[in-house]
C-alpha cells in the first residue's frame, strides 16, 4: 500500500516539473555554434582542390564552373547526410558549417546544388533553450 502512495506522490511531484518540450519555432534548442548545420563556402579562399568531393561518403558534392573561371563545390541537399567530412577535409577552411539546422527548400528542383553557398546568406544565430 505504501508503495502505491509513493507512486502517486512521485507522479504528483512531477506535475510541477518544467516542461521539457521545446515549442518550435517560437523556441529553439541550443546546439552551440559547433553544430554541423548548413554548409557554406567562402569562394575567396577556396582553391578548387576537390578534396571535399573526394571524401564525401554520400557522393553529394559536384563541382560547377563559375564566371570567374574557377570550379566550386555544390552540394546536393537531397543526398547530403551532414557528416561534415567535407568540412573536415577542406585544407583552406573555406567550407564551414553554420548553425542553420533547419534546411528546407520550396521546390524539389532548387535543393540540388544550390549556388548560394555564400556565407553571408545564412543569418541564423546559434543559441536557444538548453535542457541541461
Amino acid at each position: 500500500m505504501s508503495i502505491h502512495v509513493k507512486l502517486f506522490l512521485t507522479a504528483l511531484k512531477n506535475l510541477a516539473e518544467r516542461q521539457w518540450t521545446v515549442r518550435w519555432p517560437e523556441e529553439r534548442r541550443d546546439y552551440s555554434p559547433a553544430v554541423r548545420g548548413f554548409i557554406v563556402n567562402d569562394r575567396a579562399v577556396c582553391i578548387s582542390c576537390q578534396l571535399c568531393e573526394a571524401v564525401c561518403p554520400a557522393k553529394a558534392i559536384k563541382f560547377h564552373l563559375e564566371q570567374d573561371g574557377k570550379r566550386y563545390p555544390g552540394i546536393d541537399w537531397g543526398r547530403c547526410i551532414l557528416c561534415g567530412y567535407c568540412v573536415d577535409a577542406c585544407p583552406t577552411g573555406s567550407l564551414r558549417h553554420t548553425p542553420q539546422v533547419e534546411i528546407t527548400w520550396r521546390s524539389l528542383s532548387t535543393y540540388k546544388f544550390p549556388r548560394e553557398m555564400d556565407p553571408d546568406a545564412v543569418s541564423v544565430e546559434a543559441g536557444g533553450r538548453s535542457l541541461l
Binding site: 512521485t10 571524401v55 557528416c83 577535409a89 535542457l131 541541461l132
Partner: protein
C-alpha cells in the same frame, strides 16, 4: 510447421490450414504480429497461440535491411563510418567502434591516449543513451507512457551534448582511424559533468515510478527466463547474456582503447528473466556514468590524432578540427584480413574487413548484437502468455535496423 508463409497473398487460407494442423483438437490461433502492429517494431512475428499461451514464434526479420555489407564493398574505407552507424543510430559511437579498430589495424595507425579516452567517453555516453532508449520502449510496451516520456526526455540531453561536442545529435561519426575528429574543450568537460549529474537526479524518480513499480515487477519477474546454458547455446551477447550469469564483456575480456586503464565492474545478474535483463542494463547506466567521470578526471593531455597522419600534410590542421579526412585519400590499407570487436550497448559487435590494395574493400562482414539475440528472444517467448510477448521483446532491447543492417 515447416513452411512459413513469408510470401502468402491476401485471401490465402494458409493460416486456417495451419491452425488446424498445428494444434489438432485444440483451440489454436495463428496471429500475424507486424509489420504494422504497434508491438512488433520493423519486423513480423508469426505467433502460434494455444489459448493465451504462445507455443511457437517464427520471426520474419529483414524489413529494414539496407545492405550495409554490400554497400561497403563499393566505397572508400573512410566512408564506412557514416554508413555503419546508420544501422544503430542511437548507439552510433559504439557500433562504429569495431570498424574504426579494424581500419586502424589495416592502416597501421595508433591513436594518441587522449583520443582513446575521448572515444571511450563517447561510447559510454552513447551506451547510457541507448539503454535509456530501450528502457523507454520497454515502458511503452508495458503500457507505462511516463517511463517512455521520461527516458526520451533524459536521452535527449545526450543528444544535446553530442551536438555540442561533435556537431550532430545522433549520427556523430566521432571516432575515425587514428583518433577523433574534434577535441573537447574545458567547457565541454563541465557540460558532461552537468549532464551526468542531471541524469542521476532524474533517474531517481524514474526508478521509483517504473522499476520499483509493483506492476512492472509483476510483468517482468519470471518472464522469458533463459538459464546460462541456454544463453550460451543460443549465442546471446551483451547485457542479455550477463543477465543469465554469463560473465562476458568485451570491455573486460579484450580491453580495447582506454578500457584496460579504467576501473569498473561489469554488471551481472543471476535470474535470467526479463527483470534481470532490465536490471543489468539499469546497472550498466550507472557503470557508464562512473566510467565517464573517471575519464573526465584523468583525461591525458595530448593530441587527438595520430602524428603519422599529420606528417602527411601538416597544413591540413585547423582550429578545433583534426582535419585528417583529406589525408585518408592519400593512404592505403595493407592487403589482408582485419577484424575489430567492441562491446556495443546491446552486446558484442564484430567486424571483419577484407581489404584490397586499393582504398575500396573486397568485403565487410558486420555482426550486430540484435541479430544474435533474435533467436534467444524467440526462444524466451515460447511458453509465455501473449501479453508477455512485448515484454520479452523489449527486454532484449531488440532493434530491427541493427539486426537487419
Amino acid at each position: 510447421m515447416t513452411e512459413w508463409p513469408f510470401n502468402q497473398r491476401v485471401g490465402s487460407t494458409f493460416f486456417i490450414d495451419a491452425e488446424e494442423k498445428l494444434l489438432e483438437g485444440r483451440r489454436g490461433m495463428v496471429l500475424v504480429v507486424g509489420p504494422q502492429h504497434p508491438g512488433s517494431g520493423h519486423m513480423r512475428l508469426f505467433v502460434v497461440l494455444d489459448g493465451d499461451l504462445i507455443t511457437e514464434v517464427v520471426p520474419d526479420p529483414g524489413f529494414v535491411h539496407r545492405g550495409v555489407e554490400k554497400l561497403a564493398e563499393n566505397r572508400p574505407y573512410w566512408t564506412l563510418i557514416p554508413l555503419v552507424e546508420k544501422a544503430s543510430i542511437m548507439d552510433s559511437a559504439n557500433i562504429t567502434y569495431p570498424v574504426v579498430l579494424a581500419l586502424e589495424r589495416a592502416l597501421g595507425l595508433e591513436p594518441p591516449p587522449r583520443a582513446k579516452y575521448l572515444r571511450v567517453l563517447m561510447a559510454e555516453l552513447s551506451r547510457v543513451r541507448t539503454h535509456l532508449y530501450d528502457m523507454a520502449l520497454l515502458g511503452i510496451f508495458l503500457g507505462h507512457s511516463t517511463a517512455f516520456m521520461w527516458s526520451f526526455a533524459i536521452q535527449d540531453l545526450y543528444a544535446e551534448v553530442f551536438a555540442k561536442i561533435t556537431g550532430a545529435r545522433t549520427t556523430i561519426s566521432y571516432a575515425v582511424p587514428g583518433g577523433v575528429r574534434r577535441d573537447i574543450k574545458p567547457s565541454h568537460v563541465e557540460l558532461v559533468e552537468k549532464l551526468l549529474a542531471k541524469t542521476e537526479a532524474k533517474l531517481r524518480d524514474f526508478k521509483t515510478l517504473f522499476l520499483d513499480n509493483p506492476v512492472t515487477r509483476a510483468r517482468l519477474e519470471g518472464v522469458g527466463t533463459l538459464d546460462a546454458k541456454a544463453v550460451a547455446e543460443l549465442g546471446v551477447v551483451g547485457p542479455f547474456a550477463r543477465a543469465s550469469g554469463v560473465r562476458y564483456d568485451v570491455r573486460k575480456v579484450h580491453p580495447y582503447d582506454a578500457y584496460g586503464e579504467l576501473d569498473f565492474e561489469i554488471a551481472v545478474e543471476k535470474a535470467g528473466d526479463a527483470m534481470a535483463r532490465t536490471l543489468v542494463r539499469w546497472r550498466e547506466i550507472y557503470t557508464s556514468i562512473d566510467i565517464a567521470r573517471q575519464i573526465l578526471k584523468s583525461l591525458p593531455e595530448s593530441d587527438v590524432i595520430d602524428q603519422a597522419l599529420l606528417f602527411k600534410n601538416p597544413e591540413y590542421r585547423r582550429e578545433g578540427i583534426s582535419g585528417v579526412l583529406g589525408v585518408y585519400t592519400y593512404i592505403y590499407p595493407e592487403l589482408g584480413e582485419y577484424h575489430g570487436m567492441a562491446e556495443a550497448s546491446r552486446g558484442l559487435t564484430y567486424v571483419q574487413l577484407f581489404t584490397t590494395s586499393s582504398q575500396r574493400l573486397y568485403r565487410m562482414r558486420l555482426v550486430t548484437p540484435s541479430w544474435r539475440n533474435l533467436r534467444a528472444m524467440v526462444e524466451a517467448m515460447r511458453g509465455q502468455r501473449l501479453a508477455d510477448m512485448p515484454a520479452v521483446y523489449m527486454s532484449f532491447g531488440y532493434f530491427p535496423p541493427e539486426a537487419d543492417r
